[in-house]
Symmetry: C2
């Protein structure tokens, strides 16, 4: 299902994109899948990955099957960044944080002269790209904490409704992978509840998950900070976002978050990086039929190519190591080649 | 809706219980409510509390009402101990911990000679009742942590299936309040999702909440500890319960837990003590119709009488202060008198 990525230049990518027509017929195909008629996964190429999904859903929902899963047990968990939408060249939430710095600086006059905020406000892309982890943490704390949870949600919603990425000039919410939207819809149609289990901020993802993935807020498990309960000047209580990290929902934090917020071991899990390894292990360790999948970003033409598994370029964001690739083969996880297994990647393709 | 408790002796309680016949006709009434026919709350006496519930459900589910709540927003949260089942003379989970000490002591030979375990194993009820908070914490850590979450669930399930309380000689799972089971069933029938939001251990309550309340594990929000991800000798991953407290789901921890695990402000909340105050405040602070209720334990005859609100006996477990009572009156929360508002308290009455 996986082939080494072809190295494609930036110019090549842009040409390829310019040449790609919008195909309304395939939109109709996706709509048909939602009503259960025809192919439920029209953006997936025929092949072992698609076959495995169809077989898994059939065997776990057929009451006569030995692998039948009772409806309450039908839990499907999806990583977000790199699994449901684009995570390169930088996580969307980091863009949000950087964008918020100017707004936060207006509210706190001295901040603009302090580092790392001064660098962010300078707009010097190279200097921003070189910020240390400590610097980024300061930016995260300044932009994601200190406000009421309702205010945070409203601000994040307003931003995500307008913000566009630099490569496609599209809304970030358009950079979701169409095959995955079809897969989530297909699973829900089969009685699975689809959860997002993300290393990203739970409150950030909640601001748009229902609208773009059909995943309601209570089915978003993510990294979360503590909250302070305070009273406003009008006496009304508020939940203020604290800088204290409560759950780092990455690596071993993923099964921990799953147990904390769902309390059931998933039947199905989909990730794309080493941060998803424990979630997939935990899923597969349960009794009965369980399925674990990993998306491999091997399509530099239509999206991005990175690994370093299978000789793909190395990356700091969404690392898919050769070790993870080998573990997938050994443990029966299915690696999905975005290049070979996905007929279309985006709805706008 | 509330009257001061009559002081009833222990002997009086026992006589009253002995004289109470089982009334199968009322069981049929409860069954009818579940199918939507007839009175949905047959164990509630007619009066302002019952009227307020019926009016709230009507106004939030009638599409022509200005107070209509869309189905995804229909979240109802219930405290457990003292709100859904008996919490006196001691929390059921504490009984579980004390019962587990002998099992834990067998597995760890030296433990039986150490305090406070030695005291617990002595069976000296007075000495056990006088254990300090630090002692209890040691017992909690020894009995609720260190094992795999699946093992914990299985052990808790096995215990709750057999353990009986000292007063009624009934299973603890029979000590649920019938009016509350009717209320949860009624709310669910109206499209509300019922959550338990408990200061008790989330994993403990999950072991039986579905069976006795119809609340699935993913709708139990409770105090929760951290988890360690470890591999067993067979290489299979395990989630081990850590002694580190992640969420103390009491007082301000309740709205915090609600935001973390549900992500929506409840429309309806029901508690019985000062530990529920912030949950009720947070619920009522939302826009549109919101309802907050508190059960007052003013029926020493059929259950227990404690406050100290309204001159009821003071208590360390499930404290309902006069200040909370006054806040309820001021903020439009409804205080439910177990004596006056509940026709029956238990299904076995």
């Amino acid at each position: 299902m996986v082939a080494p990525s072809s190295k494609v230049s930036r110019r090549g990518v842009i040409s390829a994109l310019a040449a790609t027509p919008v195909l309304p017929a395939v939109f109709r195909g996706a709509a048909r899948a939602q009503t259960g008629a025809g192919d439920p996964l029209p953006s997936w190429n025929d092949g072992p990955a698609k076959d495995a999904i169809l077989e898994f859903v059939h065997t776990t929902t057929d009451p006569s099957s030995a692998n039948f899963a009772p409806p309450p047990e039908r839990i499907a968990t999806f990583d977000q960044d790199g699994t449901l939408w684009v995570e390169h060249p930088i996580y969307t939430q980091v863009v949000y944080c950087l964008d918020r710095v100017s707004i936060v600086a207006k509210a706190k006059p001295g901040l603009a002269d302090e580092q790392p905020f001064k660098t962010v406000l300078s707009g010097d892309r190279k200097a921003i790209a070189n910020l240390s982890t400590d610097d980024l943490l300061k930016i995260v704390v300044a932009t994601l904490t200190g406000m009421d949870v309702d205010q945070f949600r409203d601000e994040a919603k307003a931003w995500i409704d307008k913000a566009r990425d630099a490569r496609w000039k599209r809304l970030y919410t358009e950079l979701t992978y169409l095959p995955q939207i079809e897969l989530m819809t297909f699973l829900r149609g089969a009685g699975y509840r689809t959860y997002i289990v993300t290393g990203g901020g739970q409150d950030f993802v909640r601001a748009y998950a229902d609208r773009i993935y059909g995943v309601p807020v209570e089915q978003v498990v993510g990294s979360a900070g503590g909250l302070s309960y305070e009273y406003g000047p009008d006496g009304r209580p508020k939940l203020i976002k604290d800088p204290k990290l409560l759950l780092n929902d990455n690596f071993a934090g993923k099964p921990e978050g799953i147990h904390l917020m769902i309390g059931r071991r998933p039947r199905f899990a989909f990730g794309n990086s080493t941060g998803d390894r424990q979630m997939l292990e935990y899923t597969k360790a349960g009794a009965g039929a369980r399925m674990a999948m990993l998306a491999l970003h091997d399509d530099g033409n239509r999206e991005y190519a990175y690994g370093p598994a299978q000789g793909l370029p190395d990356t700091k964001i969404g690392t898919f190591t050769q070790e993870l690739y080998d573990q997938a083969g050994k443990d029966g996880w299915i690696v999905v080649s975005m290049k070979k297994d996905w007929k279309r990647i985006f709805a706008f393709d």
